[in-house]
């Protein structure tokens, strides 16, 4: 422990150099912009700035990339709250309550809740990185494909809280999402399914065009419908302009924040879908624990806090994997890993021993970056206030153009734009038929992970898939998944018994 503390003191002394602070501030600002613009992400930003980071001193370059990574995760919440367009998949549950808050004239407040949740989750994940990396790495190494499958099942169990009033339509939406996720090459033999001869579909549907089509464009169609009744404004006028949240607003949610951060840090270990599952799981837990679960989805600030706190806390988990085991927990983490390798630093079990000073400077910087996100974020909150003041008649076509750019930038071709267009028509019909889109998107995010890990588990158990229940970690996650699935029913039954 003494060694860790002395390494951290050294790390802070390096990370607090003016050039490191400048790199972190620039990285955070750029990252927030990248995260807020649909279609662009932490990965895009880090890839663009990787050559610049390579030219800089190792510590300065790494902290620049850390700033982009954390800034982008926070930035995803800005467009999710203001326009209902999640900048990243992990910000999907943020739209559920963030956007209704914006529509009702509480946009600044929602942005502040998103910012405070993100910062708390980020700082928590920095402490996890600093002090629990060896412990988390031991847990992470026990997560094989069966456990990844169980995590996917846990993620899907959350459907029970987002199916809406009509369970048939909710499950219909979720199963359709899983089916759409099977489009493309199958994970075992690579045999194409539902591609109808199109080579664009071999890799399946890209997530960004689907999110833009299913969430963003239907919101614009909603705006267009509201133009008919010209007296009615799409966004209600802001009731008051908020610059900060009161300490009491934060402290009354402190248990929710801690719980969300713990969920985020644990689930974040899962590669690729970690932050998304973390955000959904945390949102669902907050809803089930709330005394007013019916207010979730209609503009409850706790929904924003829970989702944002968890997806930022998940970053720590993914970085633990990257640094201590050399397994990138996300594409952005893979870029960070390549930045280390390019400078001759090999991530993996020997990293802590061979390059302890670099690692602990990064840990110290990671904490500082999340504190910088908090301060820089307040500026973006005030900028967001002006976005909501833009007349809807100008905002609507501009959002459409940004959606086109976002979908196009996924792979620099028009096919994804057409996918977004078709998805938007389907989502518009879903809206008219009162079929919720949230289960569809959740299933789409988790579908390929579920199928691939199921078949991997099937292969490693030589076809005796039931033997996965002999694995304690699998069993634990699976039981939690079953409890999550039936939580609303159990809660209702307990309520009935009490009354």
């Amino acid at each position: 422990m003494d060694t860790i503390l002395s390494l951290l003191v050294d790390g802070f002394s390096v990370a607090l150099h003016p050039e490191c602070i400048l790199a972190m501030v620039v990285g955070t600002v750029l990252g927030t912009i990248f995260g807020a613009l649909p279609g662009l992400s932490a990965t895009t930003g880090m890839a663009l700035l990787l050559p610049i980071a390579y030219q800089l001193d190792l510590n300065v370059g790494l902290l620049l990339l850390a700033g982009i990574y954390c800034g982008a995760l926070y930035g995803g919440s800005i467009s999710a709250i203001l326009l209902g367009i999640p900048g990243t998949a992990a910000a999907l549950p943020t739209t559920f309550d963030g956007f209704p808050l914006s529509k009702s004239g509480r946009g600044s407040e929602a942005l502040l809740y998103g910012l405070y949740g993100s910062s708390f989750g980020g700082v928590f994940s920095a402490f996890v990185l600093m002090f629990l990396t060896p412990v988390v790495a031991k847990v992470a190494i026990k997560l094989g494909t069966p456990e990844m499958f169980a995590l996917g099942v846990w993620g899907m169990a959350i459907v029970s809280s987002v199916v809406g009033k009509d369970w048939v339509k909710g499950i219909f939406s979720a199963v359709l999402g899983l089916l759409v996720a099977t489009v493309g090459a199958d994970p075992v033999n690579g045999s194409p399914r539902f591609t109808f001869g199109s080579y664009y579909l071999i890799g399946g549907f890209a997530l960004v065009p689907m999110i833009l089509g299913m969430l963003a464009l239907p919101r614009v169609y909603g705006m267009v419908e509201s133009f008919q009744s010209s007296n009615e404004s799409y966004f209600q006028a802001s009731k008051e302009r908020k610059f900060f949240l009161r300490a009491s607003d934060v402290f009354k949610n402190i248990f929710l924040l801690i719980r969300s951060a713990v969920i985020g840090a644990f689930v974040g270990i899962a590669p690729a879908a970690g932050p998304t599952i973390a955000a959904f799981t945390s949102y669902n837990t907050a809803k089930n624990a709330s005394e007013e679960p019916e207010s979730f989805g209609k503009g409850n600030p706790q929904g924003v806090l829970a989702a944002e706190c968890a997806n930022n806390a998940a970053v720590g988990g993914s970085l633990v994997l990257t640094l201590s085991l050399g397994i990138p927990g996300s594409t952005a983490a893979a870029i960070l890993m390549s930045a280390l390798i390019m400078r001759g630093v090999q991530p993996g079990p020997m990293l802590m021993r061979n390059n302890a000073h670099v690692v602990y400077t990064f840990f110290a910087g990671f904490l500082l970056v999340n504190i910088i996100v908090f301060f820089v974020g307040h500026l973006f909150v005030q900028a967001g206030h002006y976005v909501l003041k833009t007349p809807a008649k100008i905002l609507a076509p501009v959002i459409m153009v940004i959606c086109v750019i976002g979908a196009y930038s996924e792979s620099n071709n028009m096919f994804n734009v057409y996918v977004a267009l078709v998805a938007s028509a389907v989502a518009y019909l879903f809206g008219k038929a009162e079929i919720p889109t949230a289960p569809f998107l959740l299933a789409l995010v988790l579908g390929s992970m579920l199928e691939a890990n199921f078949w991997a588990a099937y292969t490693i158990t030589f076809g005796k898939i039931w033997t996965v229940f002999q694995r304690p970690m699998f069993l634990f996650i699976f039981i939690v998944a079953v409890l999550t699935l039936f939580a609303p029913v159990i809660k209702e039954a307990i309520k009935k018994i009490k009354t």
Binding site: V175, L179, D186, N189, R193, P397, I405, V417, Y428
Partner: protein, 138 residues
């Protein structure tokens, strides 16, 4: 104009599921196991949509004429973009959208405003963030 109910949705869903099931007939077990299971569940849900009682109300398509007009404009914009490039198509789309809405601004100012927004977006994404937008004329 439109009369759509849950049962119509269920019938369309059933037909689509049947067609998709047919496309899987020659696939290996691993390739078709998941999709078949999902399609069968979807078919059961479609049957529920068709036969359940108490959900006979029609869907509300009251604002669809506006959506069709602006959606059509959007489709035209997306279709034209690869042929005339991002800046021209975006300027045209934004200007047409604002003019159709009778936005309180003179038409030449609408055109200029649309061109400025298109240029700002192009500079931000194409030059700033390295997105290779369609550039036929620009």
């Amino acid at each position: 104009m439109f009369e759509l109910r849950d049962r119509h949705l269920g019938i369309v869903g059933l037909v689509l599921c049947g067609g998709l099931l047919y496309t899987l007939k020659n696939k290996s077990f691993q390739a078709k196991a998941f999709p078949i299971a999902l399609l069968l569940i979807l078919m059961v849900l479609c049957l529920l949509l068709i036969f359940r009682k108490g959900h006979e109300e029609k869907y509300d398509f009251s604002g669809i004429s506006q959506v069709l007009i602006y959606g059509g404009l959007f489709v035209l914009y997306v279709w034209l973009m690869p042929y005339i490039g991002f800046i021209l198509s975006t300027t045209g789309f934004l200007a047409a959208f604002l003019i159709l809405q009778k936005y309180p601004m003179k038409q030449r100012w609408i055109l200029l405003f649309s061109l400025i927004i298109a240029l700002v977006l192009w500079l931000l994404f194409a030059k700033g963030f390295g997105v290779r937008l369609p550039e036929i004329l620009f």
